[in-house]
């Protein structure tokens, strides 16, 4: 199971440039579905025929990740960049990235601390002040390896961490993609559409057209979500807690979950003795926002895997939460005729 996760987090896929992760997902789901299509936005949709006619079920995880785009190459061979998705510039200095399809290594540089004025040291760094160093001495040298418009993503390996945890890049939302793929091994009575969406991090774009095309009756979104159960944060701001099971959302900024679905998820979790938690915040948004309001409306709900430090090269996730999310999604699928 974590082999699949490892393959998924290793694939590059900044929003708008999901080719590598898309190819991998197509390979992984082909044996598990009856038909795999890619729509015009680049969403991957695996269709699994059901035995009960009438309803369509959509499972959704976004395959894109936050990243960077090269905007300019300076005379001295350094690269200027823009961010893709929400990225905290304060975490960037000295982080490694991979640029372009070739994966050219680079590092975010900043003026050395010895050279900074006292005032500079006291203010948070902004993306504008940073540059990417790929070891090139001149613009010509840099241009042989990268060009403006090339995408870049954080460069880090997935490692096992502590007891039963992993530390990795891109857990938001490759963890969701991996859980969705594993969940596909369970049978759904209805026609099932497994959607791996593009461009969630830049405005829930892929999900919008996927839902419009599929016309689902109900959709379950699988996300890697904020987990702030860490020092310096008061318990009321944890949002989720690591190791306490998949988090079921009542609502977030993008959607209010369908109450019947939430009650059903809780019932299935309790019946199968799967630990779960209710997400304790109203922040954030995800594909549910667009799917719920597609056409005449769709029943939606969200199950999230708690991940600390998302949108960084080193997110941390508990594999028990991951496995329990798979179990919960499978339980959801098996009995969704009740909805």
């Amino acid at each position: 199971m974590s082999d699949l996760l490892k393959r998924l987090v290793s694939a590059k896929g900044a929003s708008g440039n999901e080719d590598e992760v898309r190819q991998l997902i197509i390979e992984e789901i082909t044996p598990l579905t009856h038909q795999v299509t890619v729509d015009r936005m680049g969403n991957v949709i695996g269709y699994k025929r059901g035995s009960v006619p009438g309803k369509k079920v959509m499972l959704c995880a976004h395959m894109d990740e936050v990243g960077f785009i090269i905007t300019r190459i300076e005379e001295n061979g350094m690269l200027k960049f823009g961010t893709i998705g929400s990225i905290d510039a304060r975490i960037l200095p000295s982080k490694r990235i991979r640029i372009g399809n070739e994966g050219i290594p680079g590092v975010f540089g900043i003026k050395a601390i010895h050279l900074q004025e006292p005032a500079e040291r006291e203010t948070a760094v902004k993306a504008k002040q940073l540059y990417i160093d790929i070891g090139a001495k001149t613009r010509e040298e840099a241009e042989r390896k990268v060009k403006p418009g090339d995408y870049a993503v954080f460069d880090s390996e997935m490692v096992y961490f502590g007891e039963g945890k992993v530390k990795s890049r891109a857990l938001d939302d490759r963890a969701g993609c991996a859980a969705l793929i594993e969940a596909l091994k369970a049978d759904c009575p209805f026609d099932l559409y497994a959607c791996f969406t593009v461009q969630e991090e830049v405005g829930i774009r892929g999900a919008k057209v996927a839902a419009y095309n599929i016309k689902p009756d109900m959709a379950l979104i699988i996300e890697g979500t904020t987990c702030s159960d860490v020092p310096g944060i008061e318990p009321q701001n944890f949002s989720t807690r690591m190791g306490m099971g998949p988090a079921i959302s009542i609502a977030d900024l993008s959607s209010y979950s369908n109450k019947k679905m939430v009650a059903y998820l809780i019932e299935r979790a309790e019946k199968a003795s799967i630990p779960y938690q209710i997400k304790e915040s109203l922040t954030g948004g995800n594909d549910a926002g667009e799917i719920q309001r597609s056409r005449g409306g769709v029943m939606t709900s969200v199950v999230s895997i708690p991940c600390r430090y998302i949108h960084s090269p080193s997110s941390v996730m508990d594999l028990e939460d991951f496995n329990n999310t798979i179990r919960l999604v499978q339980e959801f699928l098996k009995g969704c005729e009740a909805l």
Partner: protein
């Protein structure tokens, strides 16, 4: 209409939790419409068929009200919350709230803050008088939503209370349904959900109903209080016909239809330009290939507080104007 408004304003129904108010509205209208149903988003849709040859008209008023969603229960039984819609610090300090199950509470704040300016919703909590976490959890759970709790009152032709936004609009539509005698148009009265969190119910219902024309009915702010921010809308000067807000530029023909009808029948009206905020028409006019849309607004002081205040005559004249619009032929 006082009785109807008081009844509707007193029913619980924050965004996403509109079941009680939907039931209340359904009871009011079920004997006066040809058909009604609830859709996936929870919108209540009531149909009144025309004699034929008319337009498909969507009339929308949102049922939901702003609320406070419980996000955390601490060891002492205090509830932390997040805003569901436009809850402000200023309008919340030491206000009373009520949950669906009748449990009431008061909104407190961490008094160690140095200045009132430092208070944010994250530093506030709901006190339901529980002696500890266990007692609190036996009554309230994470995800439960409270609404402002204040009595309805009336004097000087003014109605005051919580949830005038937009139960005043709902009451206006209910009264319109009851007052309509005959119409050439097919009328779809939609009592929408989740307006306060992003015009959500309106979006899906407009898609499903494919109207030729859309009018939403909602409250708007006024500029008629001491040292108010300039705004050419006052209580008691008539229902307001919207020119624009942040979500829509009213379709000129819909606006002309509304103004023309008011003039023809001698119904007082005022024109509204709202710099911030929006309402259901913002979603309706962008549905599918576009829907010509306008807004009939009820002037309201202290919007998004527990004491929203409207004028009885504006409400009555709003009904009169909407009935005349709908009873006539709509040509464009």
């Amino acid at each position: 209409m006082r009785e109807l408004l008081q009844k509707l304003a007193g029913v619980y129904g924050p965004s996403g939790n509109e079941e009680p108010i939907r039931d209340a509205i359904q009871k009011e209208i079920e004997d006066h419409v040809d058909e009604f149903y609830t859709d996936v988003m929870g919108n209540l849709i009531a149909v009144k068929k025309g004699k034929g040859g008319g337009k498909r008209v969507l009339l929308a008023a949102h049922m939901d009200q702003i609320g406070l969603m419980v996000t955390h229960i601490d060891d002492k039984g205090f509830l932390r919350f997040a805003a569901l819609g436009g809850i402000s610090v200023a309008n919340s300090i030491c206000r009373r709230v009520i949950f669906r199950n009748g449990i009431t509470g008061v909104i407190g704040y961490e008094t160690e803050v140095e200045s009132w300016k430092d208070i944010t919703l994250a530093k506030m909590y709901i006190d339901i008088g529980a002696s500890g976490k266990e007692e609190a959890e036996s009554q309230i759970k994470i995800g439960d939503v409270a609404v402002y709790h204040s009595p309805f009152s009336a004097n000087n032709d003014k109605y005051m209370g919580g949830a005038m936004d937009d139960r005043a609009g709902c009451a206006l539509l209910v009264e319109t349904i009851k007052s309509l005698e005959s119409t050439p148009n097919d009328l779809y009265f939609v009592f929408t959900t989740q307006e306060e969190v992003g015009l959500r119910g309106a979006k899906t219902s407009a898609y499903a109903l494919e109207p030729d024309l859309g009018i939403s009915v909602d409250v708007t702010i006024t500029g008629d209080t001491p040292k108010a921010k300039p705004m050419a809308v006052s209580l008691g000067e008539g229902p307001a016909i919207k020119i624009k807000d942040a979500s829509i530029l009213a379709h000129p023909k819909v606006k002309e239809l509304m103004v023309g009808t008011a003039k023809k029948h001698g119904i007082p009206y005022q024109l509204e330009i709202l710099e911030f905020g929006g309402t259901d028409s913002g979603a309706i006019h962008l549905s599918r290939g576009g829907v010509p849309s306008g807004v009939l607004s009820i002037p309201c002081r202290y919007v998004h507080s527990d004491s929203e205040t409207i004028d009885a005559n504006d409400l009555k004249n709003g009904v009169k104007l909407l009935v005349k619009i709908l009873e006539g032929e709509i040509n464009f």
